[in-house]
C-alpha cells in the first residue's frame, strides 16, 4: 500500500509577491536625471539668447524663426519642453499625493494636471516642428522683413 504525501503549504509564506513595480523608483530617478539635464539645457538656452551676439537686443520674431530653422535648436527646444513639462508634472503629482487627502479630490486634481500637461506638450511639439515664419496666405504687413513677397 502506497501513501501519497499530502501537499501541505508551508506554514509561513512570505509576503505576497505582487510582481516588482518600480514606478516610484523610476520617477524618483527621472527627477534627478531630468533636473541635471535641464540645468544645462536652460542655462545654455538663456546664454545663447541673451548673452551672445547682440544679446537681448537681437531677440525678435526673426531670431526665433532663425533658430527653429536649425534642427539642433528644434531638438534642443523639444527636449526642454518635454523634460520641463514631465519634470514639473511629476513634481506636482507628488505634491498632490502628499497633500490631497480625499481620494476624489486627488483623482480630479491629477486628471486636470495630466490634461494640461498633454495639451501643452502636444501643442508645443506641434509648433516646434510645423513652425513656418512665412505662411503663404498671410497679410504682407504681418510678416517679418526676410519673407519674400509672393
Amino acid at each position: 500500500m502506497t501513501t501519497v504525501a499530502p501537499n501541505i503549504p508551508a506554514p509561513r509564506s512570505p509576503r505576497r509577491l505582487r510582481g516588482r513595480t518600480n514606478t516610484e523608483l523610476y520617477s524618483w530617478l527621472f527627477m534627478r536625471a531630468s533636473g541635471m539635464l535641464l540645468l544645462i539645457l536652460v542655462f545654455t538656452h538663456l546664454f545663447v539668447n541673451l548673452m551672445t551676439g547682440d544679446g537681448i537686443n537681437a531677440l525678435d520674431f526673426a531670431f526665433v524663426a532663425g533658430k527653429w530653422a536649425d534642427p539642433l535648436w528644434q531638438v534642443w527646444d523639444l527636449m526642454m519642453l518635454w523634460l520641463a513639462m514631465i519634470h514639473g508634472t511629476n513634481g506636482l503629482r507628488t505634491v498632490i499625493n502628499d497633500y490631497a487627502e480625499r481620494d476624489q479630490l486627488r483623482m480630479w486634481l491629477k486628471v486636470g494636471l495630466y490634461t494640461a500637461t498633454t495639451i501643452t506638450v502636444v501643442l508645443g511639439t506641434l509648433v516646434i516642428f510645423t513652425f513656418d515664419p512665412c505662411p503663404p496666405d498671410a497679410a504682407a504687413d504681418l510678416l517679418p522683413s526676410f519673407c519674400q513677397a509672393p
Binding site: 509576503r15 518600480n22 516610484e24 523608483l25 524618483w28 507628488t94 502628499d98
Partner: protein
Amino acid sequence: MTAVAEAPAASSVVPSFQVTVRLRRFNPESDTEPRWEDHTVTMHGTDRVLDALHKIKWEIDGSLTFRRSCAHGICGSDAMRINGRNRLACKTLLKDLPLDKPITVEPIKGMTVLKDLVVDMDPFFEAYKSIMPFLITSGNEPTRERRQSPEERARYDDTTKCIMCAACTSSCPIYWTDGQYFGPQAIVGAHRFIFDSRDEGAEQRLEILNDRDGVWRCRTTFNCTDACPRGIEVTKAIQEVKRALLFRRV
C-alpha cells in the same frame, strides 16, 4: 580661608526660577477640542521639562496624562513637541529653553491624541512590524554565535541606536498628511537589518520599502534628523536604502 571654604558652598546652590508651562490638554470625556492650559511652577537649574510635568501632575493637577518610563532617554516613551520641536521631555533641560516665554508642550503630531500628551502609537508600531524587524536567515542554526567583523558591524551602527520614541516619524510632513507612508522610523528599523551582514532578508525588506508608500515618498526635508534625540542621521539612512534599491547592492 573662610572665603575659600565658602565659595564651593555658594556655587553648589542650584539657582531656581519660575517657569510657565503651556500644556496642550485634551480630555476625551469632556472636551471636543484640545485646549491650552498654563501652569507656573518653581523649578531648578538642573530640572528637565519632565520634572516640570511631574511637579504639575503630582502637586497641581493629577489628571495630567503623559507617558514616561525610564525618564533617562532610553525607553523612548516621552517624546513630545516642546516649543514646537519634537524632543524627549527627559532630555530637555529647562535652562536651555527661553524662560521669559511660556514653554509649550504638545503631543507629537500626526497621530490620534487619546488624552493630553498621550497619542495612539499603534500605526507607528504597525509600520515598524511591516518591515520585519527580526533576523532572517536560512539553513541550520549555527552552534556558535553568528560572527561579524567590526567593519560589518559599523555599517549599520547608527541605526541600532533607535529607541522608537516616534520623534522622527511624527516630525515628518509627509507622515502628517498621509498616514500610509511608512515613516522615517520604520525605514531606520529596516536599515538596521538590511545592512546587517548576518541577515538574509534584505531583498524582502527592500521590496517592501520600494512600495508606493515606501522610501520614495521621502522628500529629504531633514525634519527627522533634526528631531532624533539619539542623533541618528535618519535622512542619510533613508537615502542609503534608496541607493540600495537603485543599484541593487547592499
